[in-house]
Structure formats: structure tokens, C-alpha cells
């Protein structure tokens, strides 16, 4: 589409940039908001999923007869109840319900619908699965080694050279220049290997859904998802239904962070509902969430960077190996593209390998693939800078990508905000604040792409002059408020006069999932365009009333006014006045906009972290933390700050505590919040934020996505800080106390 290129920065805003209360706020503080598990239906059955206790096993046979015979059991489904998946969806189906093999601990193998949860659980114990246990592999480097147990045979694509393990699914390479020649010009070449553990998005709301299907094949599904249109399309394909027969309603969503951009239980609930002829509700428990939904990839990364002693990077090279669980699709491509993206490099190369292991299929997690790569690269740059006695911010400024830089992944950057974030970091009081004993300061940069995608918005003007905005993207962190604000801004009416609702799949056309930080950008753009369409319509109506040309009517401050030669001839007509007589002037007034909103802008951040490491226990405490990010125009600054803070803290958890721990048996050892420890309030200080507003030329208000970049820098910022505090370089995440203690003691002994 043709994007509106009107210079966004020249605008002054009335509503955008303020901090109104969110429209769903009262429901959420009173307990009234309905999340995934909060819905029920008359005659509803409870669904329960039986999961593989093995990391890798062939399923020879499944006998469900005893379970089916149990009183209260109304349906049992296995893979045999699903037709072959359409091309391209085989893995999605196989992940929802195992076919020939169970590929990880927790893989679904059968499901039951019964009159109570207790009966469903009891029935699961009566299902007899005949497993042939196979050798397994859960570590990425082990999976790449020759002779590793293979999950799939013959699925590597044409990019994988001969001689690799069958678990390597694909290989990507990015870059330009001549690495070896560049390294030869360096005063020092640093070579380091880094590892990051798999971490889970950790949304507090487990997956939940309620499915109904009538004998006529019409179905309804209620679920918590980042994209109910995606759920509709996927479920319809897996169940052999027409998309139009399945209506999906998105509940309020209790966090997603990328983890709710695919389906797990939804097709299973529909299959059970179809078989039982009754509504079926499935709610995962936390153990299931950790064992069987998507964590992100774990990684193993080798970096080589050459630097001159005045801090110029002469060449940068990285090999990234990501395991994305049991199916192809780890985010190594995006890791490879983003690794060196903040820097202006003459010689740069990244090589990425997508590897499968006996772990749950990874799902997107906030800036998928980028945090691990940034951890490796930003750690290496920090180590080089310190080695030369240079200020790490100066080194980054010296190498920073700017407008016109050819990025490490290919395209030339338009106006970008990296340098501005670095300068703001230098000027921030945090950067020069004194440190206490056992404390250290670290800094790191991060980059993310941001996306657009298919989007529909309908804006209706009611007879009393209020406005309803209907959009199709679940509101994960206040986007309804942002849409109402943009509509109010464009129409020139108060924020309180606009209400934004999330429509079910019957109400709008296709909408891309809420991901890639796309909502404020793309849905915002469609909202503005829908409002403009409504304004045009209202101006046309008023022109008729006044008997003048349409072009002679303009919209200003919430009213139609005569312009040009007619200026001042008629009193302005407000939106409410026009709405009141809509029936007399042609019928109800609405505006709508449907678009594939491509052309989103990239975004950068710089984070500063202070940590204190207890030399006796190795425990790390975050003492102070500052996030500086280019947000483009911040529509609702409080929610922008919230995105910065939330992403930073997820990154802190990744750096310090969170990890998937597998035993030698391939079984997940810590499937609960007690042992999979996400940051709690007492772990943290306040998270300072600095919003830079460098307008995105691809959006009428200059909006960029803000949701993802904030998780990219913290891993390295914290690691660099710990290394400054302890004098040892931590290259293996998480930096859990035993690891830090061992490193500190090792250094003292050495």
C-alpha cells in the first residue's frame, strides 16, 4: 500500500501522547474481565490431554477402550481422529497431537472429554499407549554432532551442506565484505563461545479454550490467543472445516509475548466437541504450559570480532546454532540478521543453523532470536572495549549504524535512533553515578525489526455522536486505549467519546496476529485511515446540506467547516450534529480500512544495568536499571514505559535465573514456577525509562512498534555488569548463583 508520507514530526497532537485511563481498566481491577478460563457453557465437558512421559518414542499403538468405558467419559481422541494435515501444517498438527512418534516429554498423545476434570484425569490413566522408547537428544551441540539420535529423516532443506547431522534443518548466511582481511587489520581478535538456555514466555495465564460444534458443522471457539484469526484459519484447516463456519472469539488475554501466536489445545477441544456433541473446555495447568507449549530456542554461539585499539571494529563473524525443539523453525534466521545490526561494519558475516531436538516446539518469544545473538555480540564488544581501556559507549558510538549505513543483514538503514539512544545513555545520570563495593555497570544495545501485516478496522458513528472502533487484534497491553486515542485525535473528539472493541472473526476480515510489535503501528494506521474515511463521508453529507462542493468542506476540531470561498458562510457542524441527522442525509456513517500494512520501521535501544554480586554466594542483585529506546511517536507513554520495563525484566530473568533444565532421561526437571523462577518484585529496583521519539516515516503519526526491542539488550547488559562487578566474564546464561560463584572462585584460584 501507499503509506502516508506526510512529515509526522510537524504535527502537534491533542490526545496522542497523553495518558488517559484504559477502557478495559475497571473490568480488570474488579475481577470482571473474562480471560480464557473464565468462560463456561451449559452442558460443558472438561477436556484433558494425555502427554508422553518419554522424550522420544515411537507410538506403536494406543488402546482407549478402557477410558471410553469409564462412566462420565464422552469422547476420546487421538491422532486417528484427525485427517492428514494440509501442506505446510503437518508440524502444527503433529505438535498438537502426536502421530507416529512422541518427540518430547509432554507431547500430546490422546485427549479425553468427560463430565468432570476428575473423571477426565482418571480416564487418562486408563489409556494404554504402547511406546517403543528411542534415544533422545536435548542439547543443540549434541544434536548437531555426527551420530546424534535423529528426530526426522530427510527433512533438512537444500541449504544444509552434506555431512551434517540429520537434525540440522537449515542453514542461513548473511553479511558482506571479507572477514579474514578485516580481522588482519585488527589490533586484537577476540574469539568466544556463548550459550543461552531456553526460556519460556512465562505468561501468567495458561492456555485455555472452550469449543462448541453443532451437528451442522458450525463451530464456536473462545480462547486466549494473540490472534483469533490465525486460530480460526489453523483450526479450520486441521479439522477440515470452512473458515467461515468457525467463529473464534478472543478472550481477554493474560500475557502472550509471542507464546500465544500458535495453537496447542484449540484443535483438540474442537475435535472432542465434534465427537462428543457437547461443548468442551480445556485449560492447561502450569506444568503443561512449561512442558508442552513453546519456550524460545536455546543457543550456542561462536563470535569472532576484530577491533583496532582505538575501538573500530574491523570485522565481525558469528556462527549461531539454535535448537527450536522437535520441529524446524527456530528463530536463528532472525538471530543471524539482528546479531550485528546495530553496527556499521565493512566486513561482517553470520551463519545460522536451525537444529531440532527432543524438546517442545519453540514458539515466538518477544523479538524472537535476537536476545541470544545480542548477548554474544554485545558481550564480545564489551570485552574488547574494556581490554583496550575504552568506554563501551564510545566504542558503540564509533561503530554505530546510522542513516545510510548498509546493515549487516543487507538493507540500507533509513533514519534510525541508535546513536540517539547511545548519546542519551552517556548523558543519563545513571551512567556517571558512583558504584558501591561488589557492584558493576554494564551497557548493551539491541535491535528489532517490527512488522505490519493484514489489518482491518471499522469505525462506526452512533446516532448520538459517539464512536466505536472495531478491530481484530487481541489487546495484550492497552492497545484498545491507543486505538481510541488515535481515532479521537483524527476525529477531533474527546477520548471518552470513543470505545474500541475487539471483534470476533465473524465481524471483520483477516487480521494478522498481535505480534512483531505490530498493533500500535498497523492497527493504528488502519484506525487513522478508517477515521479519515468517516470524515470524508461526513464532509460530503455536510456539503449536501449546505449545497456547496465537497471540496469546500474541511474537517477541523471535530466539526465540518466551510472552507475556501465559503469560509465563514455556515456555522460548523459537529460530529454529534452530523450523526444526529445521519438517517436524513444518507444513512448511518462509518469508515473502514483494510490493508496489508507493510513497511514498518526498525527500532533500537540501549540499556544500562548495575548489579551487585555477593562474593560468598554468587547471587546477583539488580541495583539500578535504565532503558533508553526509540519508540517513534509514543501514543500512550505510560504503556510505552510499561513495555520497556516488562521487556527489560524478562531479559533480566533470562540473564540471571530462567532456564529449561533437562535430565539425562530427557525429562524436563523444572516444570513449575517454583523451579522455573521468573523475577519477583523483591528481586528488582524501579526500572527507569527514557523514551526517544524519532518518528517513523512510514506511519501518519510516526509510530513505531515498541513491544519487542526491550528484551534484546538486557542479557548482555546484565552479563557485562556482572563481569564488571566480579572481574570474570560470564558466557553461559543463566548466571545462576552456583555458576557465578564457581567462576569467581575459579578466578581466585587461577
Amino acid at each position: 500500500m501507499a503509506l502516508d508520507k506526510n512529515a509526522p514530526e510537524t504535527r502537534s497532537f491533542k490526545v496522542v501522547g497523553s495518558r488517559p485511563l484504559r477502557p478495559d481498566g475497571i473490568d480488570k481491577v474488579t475481577g470482571r474481565a473474562r480471560f480464557g478460563a473464565d468462560m463456561s457453557a451449559p452442558g460443558m465437558l472438561i477436556g484433558h490431554i494425555l502427554r508422553s512421559p518419554h522424550a522420544h518414542a515411537r507410538i506403536r499403538a494406543i488402546d482407549t477402550s478402557k477410558a471410553e468405558a469409564l462412566a462420565g467419559v464422552k469422547a476420546v481422541v487421538t491422532r486417528a481422529d484427525f485427517a492428514a494435515a494440509p501442506e505446510g501444517m503437518e508440524d502444527v498438527l503433529d505438535n498438537c497431537m502426536a502421530g507416529e512418534k512422541a518427540l518430547y516429554d509432554g507431547h500430546a498423545v490422546a485427549a479425553i472429554a468427560a463430565t468432570s476434570a476428575a473423571i477426565a484425569r482418571q480416564a487418562a490413566k486408563l489409556i494404554e499407549v504402547d511406546y517403543e522408547v528411542l534415544p533422545h537428544v536435548t542439547d543443540v551441540d549434541a544434536a548437531m554432532a555426527p551420530g546424534a539420535p535423529a528426530l526426522h529423516d530427510g527433512r533438512s532443506d537444500e541449504t544444509v551442506p552434506d555431512g551434517y547431522s540429520a537434525n540440522v534443518m537449515s542453514r542461513v548466511e548473511y553479511g558482506h565484505g571479507d572477514i579474514e582481511a578485516g580481522l588482519a587489520k585488527a589490533d586484537r581478535v577476540l574469539e568466544r563461545s556463548y550459550k543461552t538456555a531456553a526460556t519460556h514466555q512465562g505468561y501468567i495465564e495458561p492456555h485455555a479454550c472452550l469449543a462448541t460444534m453443532g451437528p451442522d458443522g458450525q463451530a464456536d471457539l473462545w480462547c486466549c490467543t494473540q490472534g483469533h484469526y490465525m486460530v480460526r484459519n489453523t483450526c479450520a484447516a486441521l479439522l477440515g472445516m470452512d473458515q467461515g463456519q468457525l467463529r473464534v472469539t478472543a478472550s481477554e488475554i493474560g500475557g502472550g509475548f509471542g507464546g500465544k501466536t500458535t495453537v496447542f489445545i484449540e484443535p483438540v477441544a474442537l475435535a472432542l466437541a465434534r465427537k462428543a456433541g457437547r461443548p468442551v473446555k480445556i485449560v492447561m495447568d502450569r506444568t503443561e504450559v512449561l512442558r508442552a507449549t513453546g519456550p524460545t530456542a536455546s543457543s550456542s554461539i561462536d563470535v569472532r570480532i576484530g577491533m583496532t585499539k582505538d575501538g573500530r571494529i574491523t570485522a565481525a563473524d558469528a556462527e549461531l546454532r539454535y535448537q527450536g525443539g522437535a520441529y524446524p523453525g527456530s528463530p536463528v534466521g532472525m538471530g543471524s540478521m539482528s546479531a550485528f545490526a546495530p553496527y556499521d561494519l565493512e566486513n561482517v558475516r553470520t551463519i545460522g543453523y536451525d537444529v531440532v531436538t527432543n524438546r517442545p516446539k519453540q514458539a515466538a518469544y518477544r523479538a524472537p532470536g535476537a536476545p541470544m545473538a545480542a548477548f554474544a555480540v554485545e558481550s564480545a564488544i564489551d570485552e574488547l572495549a574494556k581490554g583496550f581501556g575504552l568506554d563501551p559507549l564510545d566504542v558503540r558510538l564509533k561503530n554505530a549504524a546510522r542513516e545510510g549505513t548498509r546493515s549487516s543483514y543487507g538493507p540500507t538503514f533509513p533514519a534510525i535512533g541508535l546513536e540517539a539512544t547511545l548519546r542519551a545513555a552517556k548523558d543519563h545520570p545513571h551512567w556517571s553515578a558512583p558504584l558501591g563495593p561488589n557492584q558493576g555497570r554494564g551497557v548493551a544495545c539491541g535491535f528489532w525489526f517490527n512488522f505490519g501485516g493484514d489489518t482491518c478496522v471499522t469505525l462506526n458513528v452512533t446516532p448520538d455522536g459517539t464512536v466505536t472502533v472495531t478491530e481484530g487484534n487481541p489487546d495484550i497491553g492497552g492497545s484498545r486505549a491507543s486505538m481510541s486515542m488515535m481515532a479521537a485525535e483524527e476525529l477531533g473528539i474527546p477520548y471518552e467519546k470513543v470505545r474500541t472493541v475487539i471483534a470476533d472473526t465473524g465481524a471483520l476480515g483477516q487480521n494478522e496476529v498481535t505480534d512483531g510489535s505490530r498493533v500500535t503501528f498497523a492497527v493504528g494506521l488502519a484506525t487513522i485511515e478508517a477515521a479519515r474515511a468517516a470524515k470524508r463521508e461526513m464532509c460530503a453529507r455536510v456539503a449536501k446540506i449546505w449545497g456547496i462542493d465537497e471540496e469546500a468542506v474541511i474537517w477541523e476540531d471535530g466539526a465540518a467547516k466551510p472552507a475556501g470561498p465559503n469560509a465563514g458562510d455556515y456555522p460548523p457542524m459537529t460530529l454529534a450534529e452530523i450523526a444526529a441527522i445521519a438517517s436524513n442525509t444518507g444513512g448511518p456513517i462509518a469508515g473502514h480500512h483494510e490493508v496489508n500494512a507493510e513497511g514498518a520501521g526498525v527500532s533500537f535501544a540501549t540499556h544500562i544495568a548495575d548489579t551487585e554480586v555477593d562474593p560468598d554466594t554468587g547471587a546477583t542483585r539488580i541495583v539500578r536499571y535504565t532503558v533508553i529506546q526509540d519508540a517513534g511517536k509514543a501514543v500512550h507513554p505510560a504503556y510505552v514505559e510499561g513495555q520497556f520495563q516488562g521487556g527489560a525484566v524478562q531479559g533480566i530473568g533470562w540473564a540471571l535465573n530462567e532456564e529449561y533444565i533437562y535430565g539425562a532421561d530427557g525429562i524436563l526437571q523444572n516444570p513449575g514456577f517454583l523451579d522455573y523462577r521468573i523475577p519477583v518484585a523483591s528481586d528488582l529496583p524501579m526500572i527507569d525509562t527514557v523514551i526517544l521519539e524519532i518518528p517513523n516515516p512510514g506511519h501518519p503519526y510516526g509510530v513505531r512498534g515498541v513491544g519487542e526491542t526491550s528484551i534484546v539488550p538486557p542479557l548482555a547488559a546484565v552479563a557485562n555488569s556482572v563481569s564488571a562487578a566480579t572481574g570474570v566474564r560470564m558466557t553461559d546464561l543463566p548466571m545462576s548463583p552456583p555458576k557465578v560463584l564457581a567462576a569467581v572462585q575459579g578466578q581466585q584460584e587461577g
Binding site: 495518558r19 481491577v29 470482571r32 501468567i204 502450569r286 527489560a648 518484585a681
Partner: protein
Amino acid sequence: MSQIHVTTRLNGDETEFLCDAQETLLDVLRNRLGLTGAKEGCGTGDCGACSVTVDGRLVCSCLMLGAEAVGREIETVENMADGETLHPLQRKFLEHAALQCGICTPGILVAAKSLLEQNPSPTEEEARYWLAGNLCRCTGYDKIIRAVMDAAEEMRRAS
């Protein structure tokens, strides 16, 4: 399996229900009494999303049996506002944008109310430790803590 008959005071009203012996108070509230404000984030006492008070004490309702509610006073998030008037904590959470997705919010509000009842002027550190049992994955806690401190101040001034 015969069910247990329980009489309790729920949000100020005498309430009766039948439940199975192994059913948690959280299940009873959500599935039998239609009070879905308390959420199940873990079912193991680790996330605090199910927080309610029982005889004024903060508990994880996922760790208590429904049958144990006999003769107790149960308060849930649904009873925090006084009719149309929000509790100062609820108001401050909205003003400070202390929620993103809002799934943790009911539990955190109940826990914070209980904090302020015990300690009307907590330090930031005390608030952080008191709320350490309530996980929030969206906000990084910054705005939550600010909202709690601000509400505490307002309530002190009002009293």
C-alpha cells in the same frame, strides 16, 4: 462420591455450596460460585494469582480446600470496590497503568490490600517483599509498586 456441604461467609454474604473433598477453594469460587476474579496461574502456590483473604489472612486459594472454608470469612477481589466506588488501590492501579494484561491484577490487589491493612506505611522494600509471592510477567513491577505506594499515601491522608 458424596459431596460436602459447606456454609461460609463470602464477601459478606452467607453462602452455601457443595463440593468434592479434593476440590480447592479456588475451584469452588471459580466453578461453583461463578467468582472468576481469582485466577489460576499455577495451582501450586507459586504465582499468587488466586489470592483471597480468609479471616483477614492472605492465602493462595489454590492451596486451600473448599471444604476448609466452613465457618470462615472469605474476601475476594470482587468485593474490593464499594459499589460504584473503587478502592484506592484499584484507582491507583488504573492511574499508574500498573496493569498490562491484567491477569495478575486481582491477586496483586488482594495482596496489596492485605499489606496496607497490616502496615499502612510500608517502605518500597517492604511492599516488594510482601508482593514477592505475586508474579507479574508484563510490567516488571515498577508501576505496580508505585501504585501501591501512592495508594498507601492517599489512604494515610484520608484516615
